[in-house]
Amino acid sequence: MSLFGRKFPTPIVRPLAPFIAAASIVWLTVNKIENSAQSLPPYDSDPRNPKALLNKQLKEHH
Amino acid sequence: MLLYDFYNFNLVQRSTIKSNITLFFSLSFHISFRKMSSIKSLLPPKISVSGVTGASGSTAALSDLYSKLPKGPAPKVQPQGFLGRYYARYIATSSPAPILHVSLAIGLIGYTVNYHFHLKYHKKREHH
């Protein structure tokens, strides 16, 4: 692998594959928790909630 | 380039140490000084140009070879680019100024961010 005009003769992706997988799992889990927490009833219409507008629109739609 | 033999986990030091600070640092990390037993590596390899130092013994060819070698101190290469000039000015001279430069640069960036998000509100009210 060559980067910035230097060679790095060491395996990088293969030993780190478990950690890359773990990072994706953590990212997806946190994203899921975030999305579900932002649409919980007492806080879904809070002005500080970035998803408040969408939640309001969804409520009017249904 | 890093001086550590990565695949064998050995620390290899390949040249002499110039500054006194090195002594201070090398005590704590196992940077071993070159052993005297490996003094062989200091000696230059045998120069054998066929027919020059051989049995013929003609010194004319030898002096011709050495007369073509560059003489005097090596020509100074003008550093290129911002990084090259910065390196020649501050890093190669072991100046402590880069710490100040980095602190000032990051402090300036941080002040800009802080001014935009907090400090300009402090001027109007006590709390934000």
Binding site: F4, F8, T10, P11, I12, P15, L16, P18, F19, A21, A22, A23, V26, V30, N35, P50, K51, L54 | M1, L2, L3, Y4, F6, F9, Q13, R14, S15, T16, I17, K18, S19, I21, T22, F25, S28, F29, H30, I31, L83, G84, Y86, Y87, I91, A92, S94, V102, S103, I106, G107, I109, G110, Y111, V113, N114, F117, H118, H122, E126, H127, H128
Partner: protein
């Protein structure tokens, strides 16, 4: 006579703000934005790359300047750490551990510059990092040893009656690693920054408050300077401890029962 002193909130320095925000009802609801945490992470990464570009630009051998000396020392330090903790089988993980060490160290040090922002004082960042590491180590152990990996939860020489209880305790302590690793780093940095902010605010009020305060000004300034030195030490120690524990977790996963 009471005198009211107004100070700014010492927690205000930790506020997360969005520089660029990209939000919209796309794929559910995506929120992509550059917050100040992300900005300082990018800054630290750029700084690491710059350090390694400036490091030995001439291509000379040996320790010819202070930057080279510092980089070699850090490299040798982490190399010795990996060598002692993980052993030869941990060799492929050395680049990652070295990068992790430099990254956390630089984030800690960048956070100490006045008006700057400390990303490692945020539990959201450090817990994400530590849970990624512990989960990655678990996946690594499962990949290397399969089902046998769970023997990590049963210490050698346990009586059969105690096995269920000990397995439960070991499993809880294994999961708690992911929390403790992140909380240790963030709590140390958070406490240090709050302390520095409080003391500098009170010293400023003390010095500007009265003429006696102005005369005694060197005392609080000396104290802040000493505290700053302590915080620089804490920055190094916390980066070291984080990397040390990462090494020992990797070692646990690579060779089960290494005692």
């Amino acid at each position: 006579m009471t005198k009211i002193i107004h100070i700014y909130n010492p927690l205000e320095q930790f506020e997360i703000v969005k520089f660029i925000a990209l939000e919209g009802p796309l794929f559910g609801y995506i929120q992509i934005g550059l917050t100040n945490i992300g900005f300082y992470l990018l800054l630290a990464s750029l700084f690491i790359i710059l350090l390694h570009l400036l490091y030995n630009k001439e291509g000379v051998l040996g320790l010819s300047n202070t930057l080279m000396l510092c980089m070699e020392s850090l490299f040798g330090f982490v190399l010795q750490l990996v060598k002692n903790q993980v052993g030869p089988s941990g060799q492929p993980y050395f680049p990652a551990i070295y990068s992790l060490f430099l990254f956390i160290l630089l984030l800690n040090l960048v956070g100490l510059i006045p008006y700057s922002f400390c990303a490692t004082a945020h539990f959201a960042f450090t817990l994400g990092l530590s849970s990624t590491i512990v989960l990655g180590v678990t996946i690594l152990g499962l990949k290397l040893h399969g089902f046998h990996f769970f023997s990590l939860f049963v210490p050698a020489g346990t009586p059969l009656a105690l096995v269920p209880l000990l397995t439960l305790i070991e499993a809880v302590s294994y999961v708690a690693r992911s929390v403790s690793l992140g909380i240790r780093l963030a709590a140390n940095m958070l406490a240090g920054h709050i302390l520095l902010h409080l003391f500098s605010t009170f010293s400023w009020k003390f010095i500007t408050g009265s003429f006696l305060g102005l005369l005694l000004a060197p005392l609080p300034l000396l104290f802040i300077t000493l505290l700053y030195g302590l915080e620089i030490g804490v920055a190094f120690i916390q980066a070291f401890v984080f990397v040390l524990l990462t090494c020992s977790y990797i070692q646990d996963a690579i060779k089960l029962h290494s005692d």
